[in-house]
């Protein structure tokens, strides 16, 4: 079959965040197929599609549509070449009608005056032609999310798109709406449209797609026919790592329980349940890994454990004392350390200097606080000490930190968090975006803290990292602990299945 779309050697580097979002990506889609584009958050799939749609200018690479090289600088160019995009967050005006939304910018008119009846008629015909019934006069704000998405799809179809890009289209849908969307996507494909389906849910891939491309770390790690692959294989491709990480560590010597979560439930920013009735314990001297595809409640769980988000239900205990309603500061004083997943916006304040960054969780302590005034000398001494102990060569006491590399920034975070000899450490994606050397440093620091007697909760979407470091592994799926495995004996396939939502001890779902 002919290629509907070919992207070659696409590269994009974001200087502001020091991320190589796309690195020499080749991506090809055949005409009339449903092509799933999968990968973790931050794997580069959204960047790739933003480049295709003219929202982001690539540093290098070329794009061919139907075999012809094209220049896409703006969304207008993409639309002209028959590429349409349905964004994850819909771009609709709540007070508009369905017809107004679909015809926005191309309204039928007579001598400059709008003709609403004509508009409604065009939309009705369009909807009928594609088998996507809608009420053209309904207001967007009155429609359920699934119908709003249908309006977005019709909007794209009305603009004569032949290639439809659906960015994480199921993220906001109910299971019933998902089933309906799958049917719509299959129908569109049969009618000759090419559909690119961005997702990180692997079960959806096997349900709807003909072919699948997996991205990881800004690179295309492989394209396969869905019939020739399995969910565990895709999971491995998604989370695997080129460098096999080996961490030397002594057998664990578990001590008393340092942290316990009992029946914990948490809601996310939008008010939806993100963590549902989760219970687990972390003992002194052990690393408990939480594996799972990102977006399955790990972020919310970590925020609840560290005090950044209120619980919906359940209890927390820190060093055998109730910590359910303690503030962040009280938890930190009780021995908690937190290495957050977002070091740039959460773990550090890039607008201030190193010294002030290092005292954020302990500026109230006598060491730095002299009758309400900062003790700048001991701040400076502390900075010098942390730089030495964690060999942060590039950092300067009293100097800025915004120009440090990602690895050195993470060293600053880890130096601050581990300096106080914490008893319980929460590390969320501690090596994301780091180079191999920095990864080794982070892993070594965590294992050392464990051997010193700290309990560690390690959250990571990197399966190999979880397996290399953890003494026990819990797998999270849709806000729940799907199962516990022993990293010494578990296979990646076993964990991959749990990550994809299979019940423990069952076989792979069939496509």
């Amino acid at each position: 079959m002919a290629l509907a779309l070919e992207m070659k050697g696409i590269s994009k580097y974001f200087a502001s965040t020091d991320v190589r979002a796309n690195d020499q990506v080749d991506f090809a889609v055949e005409a009339g197929e449903v092509h799933a584009l999968v990968g973790e958050n931050g794997a580069g799939k959204t960047t790739l599609m933003s480049i295709l749609y003219g929202l982001v200018r690539p540093d290098a690479g070329e794009i061919k549509v139907d075999g012809q090289p094209v220049q896409i600088h703006r969304p207008d160019d993409a639309i002209r070449h028959g590429i349409g995009m349905v964004h994850q967050h819909f771009k609709l005006v709540p007070s508009f009608t369905v017809a107004q939304s679909i015809m926005l910018g191309m309204e039928p008119n007579r001598g400059g005056f709008l003709t609403p009846n004509e508009e409604n008629r065009i939309v009705s015909e369009l909807a009928e032609r594609h088998g996507l019934p809608v009420d053209p006069k309904a207001r967007i704000r009155d429609l359920p999310v699934g119908m709003q998405q249908r309006v977005e799809i019709l909007k794209v179809l009305e603009r004569k798109a032949k290639i439809l890009v659906l960015d994480e289209p199921t993220a906001v849908l109910t299971p019933q709406e998902v089933a309906e969307l799958m049917r719509v996507v299959r129908n569109l494909s049969q009618a000759g449209f090419t559909v690119i389906f961005i997702t990180h849910k692997l079960l959806e891939v096997v349900r709807v797609a003909d072919r699948v491309t997996v991205m990881r770390g800004g690179r295309n790690v492989g394209s396969k026919a869905v019939a020739e692959t399995t969910v565990p294989e895709l999971a491995r491709m998604m989370v695997g790592r080129e460098v096999l990480l080996k961490v030397n560590k002594a057998p664990r010597q578990p001590g008393p329980v340092v942290f316990a979560a009992d029946d914990v439930s948490v809601t996310d920013v939008r008010g939806f349940p993100a963590v549902t009735r989760v219970s687990f314990e972390v003992r002194a001297g052990e690393i408990v890994g939480i594996a799972g595809v990102s977006g399955n409640g790990q972020t919310e769980l970590v925020e609840a454990v560290t005090g950044m988000r209120a619980l919906d239900g359940g209890r927390l205990a820190l060093n055998a004392k109730d910590a359910t309603s303690l503030s962040v500061r009280q938890r930190r004083n009780a021995g908690l350390a937190h290495i957050p997943e977002d070091r740039i916006h959460v773990g550090l304040n890039l607008e201030t200097n190193l010294d002030e960054n290092l005292i954020v969780s302990r500026y109230k302590l006598g060491q730095f606080n002299r009758a309400g005034f900062l003790n700048r000398r001991s701040m400076r001494d502390f900075a010098i000490d942390v730089i030495k102990r964690f060999s942060i060569a590039a950092a300067v006491p009293g100097g800025g930190i915004s120009r440090l590399s990602g690895g050195n920034m993470q060293k600053v975070v880890i130096g601050r968090e581990l300096a106080g000899e914490p008893t319980f450490i929460v590390a969320n994606q501690p090596t994301r975006g780091l180079d191999v050397g920095s990864i080794e440093f982070v892993h070594r620091s965590l294992v050392d803290a464990r051997d010193r007697g700290a309990g560690i909760l390690l959250v990571s979407v990197e399966l190999e990292e979880i397996l290399a470091l953890s003494d026990r592994v819990l797998v999270m799926y849709r806000g729940q602990i799907q199962g516990e495995v022993d990293p010494a004996t578990a296979t990646e396939e076993q964990i991959g299945l749990l990550m994809a939502g299979a019940q423990p001890e069952t076989t792979a779902p069939t496509a």
Partner: protein, 365 residues
């Protein structure tokens, strides 16, 4: 890190470049008059900052007029640095002024005690008026910018009402309150201007604000919460308390400005007392890079240019004094373009570092 050290110079370089750009562009307007630009600027400068004899010294009047600007500017600095975009200085300033005008004649206290007590009461009035947008922001998430705009309008009308009715001294054409007691007045230094103790208080306050924000733990909390809410949350900094505290302090400083303007300059409050000194404080804070030292310098510059335009350009050269306002407006416009300067300064700096550090280790990207 040569780069870091050079970067710190920006705090001074950008306002200087902005002022120069503003003056250069203003030349176009001066050319529309008959006065040569160099002559016009000379007149402006002499009338704003000159000093021939001690009793008729423009510089002293400039310092007098800079006093409320310093304090309202500091008020804005405290709010901005704490992540609160409050423009409520005008309203807080007016409440402080009304409080001072009233207590200045309504209660009898010995000298020194009287003005001190009044200044504290004015600060409390301003703080209370700052607390409202702070608490609305923290508890209900209401945008403090909108609330302070509305509160300013209320304060203007409230002050006017107080002058027209409860505080009105007589049935004269322009409503005004009784002159405050001599015991409440702040002393001035020299005849010929109202430059006095108030200015000293303002300068000491600028230093106190610097120490508070950069050297104290509550100030640290406010700055961290202002720079990154999520970092503050992560580190256990109570950013809600910090925001409310910022608004209380910000309000108190603006209230103090109103108090000093009454006790030290006007000695009573009159109809249409508000001439936008609170809003000028915003401009001063922005132009002064949200730093107390910058605020003090810019407030004096600001007051001088305005005085020079009024007394020099208007009276001597027959150039409308609005030119002074226009120059200030242009300067602020160029400060708003700081991204332009930053971008070019960054490029210049990179070039310099490359040129002079050749062969040495490059600073880490």
């Amino acid at each position: 890190m040569t780069h870091d050290r050079l970067k710190r110079l920006d705090a001074f370089l950008i306002p200087i470049l902005a002022v120069l750009s503003g003056l250069v562009v203003s030349v176009i307007l001066v050319l529309l008059t008959d006065t040569p630009p160099v002559e016009a600027y000379r007149i402006l400068f002499v009338a704003g900052f000159g000093c021939n004899e001690l009793t008729r010294c423009a510089l002293f009047t400039t310092l007098e007029r800079a006093t409320p600007l310093i304090l309202t500017g500091l008020s804005a600095v405290v709010a901005f640095r704490s992540g609160m975009f409050s423009i409520g200085q005008e309203g807080q300033y007016l409440l402080g002024a009304v409080m001072a005008a009233w207590l200045g004649y309504a209660i009898q206290l010995p000298p020194v005690i009287h003005p001190l007590f009044i200044m504290i009461m004015s600060m409390l009035a301003g703080a209370a008026y700052g607390w409202v947008p702070g608490v609305l922001r923290v508890k209900l998430g209401v945008n403090e910018l909108l609330v302070t705009i509305v509160l300013n309008a209320i304060a203007v009308l409230f002050a006017e009402y107080m002058v027209q009715f409860p505080l009105r001294a007589d049935a004269g054409a322009v409503a005004h309150s009784p002159v405050i007691d001599a015991s409440a007045q702040l002393p001035t230094f020299l005849p010929g201007s109202k430059w006095g103790i108030g200015f000293v208080i303002a300068v000491l306050t600028a230093y106190a604000v610097y120490v508070y924000l950069w050297r104290s733990t509550p100030g640290y909390e406010q700055r961290m919460a202002g720079q990154s809410k999520r970092f503050a949350l992560f580190g256990g900094i109570p950013s809600d308390n910090a925001a409310i505290r910022a608004m209380l302090i910000s309000g108190a400083l603006a209230g103090l400005a109103g108090s000093i303007e009454i006790l030290g300059v006007h000695r009573r409050i009159m109809s249409a007392f508000s001439v936008g000194l609170g809003f000028d404080g915003l401009s001063v804070a922005i132009l002064g890079q949200s730093h107390p030292l910058g605020v003090a310098i810019v407030a004096i510059l600001f007051a001088g240019v305005r005085l020079g335009a009024q007394l020099g350009l208007q009276l001597e050269a027959q150039i409308p004094r609005e030119l002074g306002g226009t120059i200030i407006g242009l300067i602020i416009l160029f400060v708003a373009l700081r991204k332009f300067y930053e971008g070019n300064l960054d490029r210049l700096r990179d070039w310099l570092v490359r040129r002079f550090n050749r062969g040495q280790a490059r600073p880490e990207r």
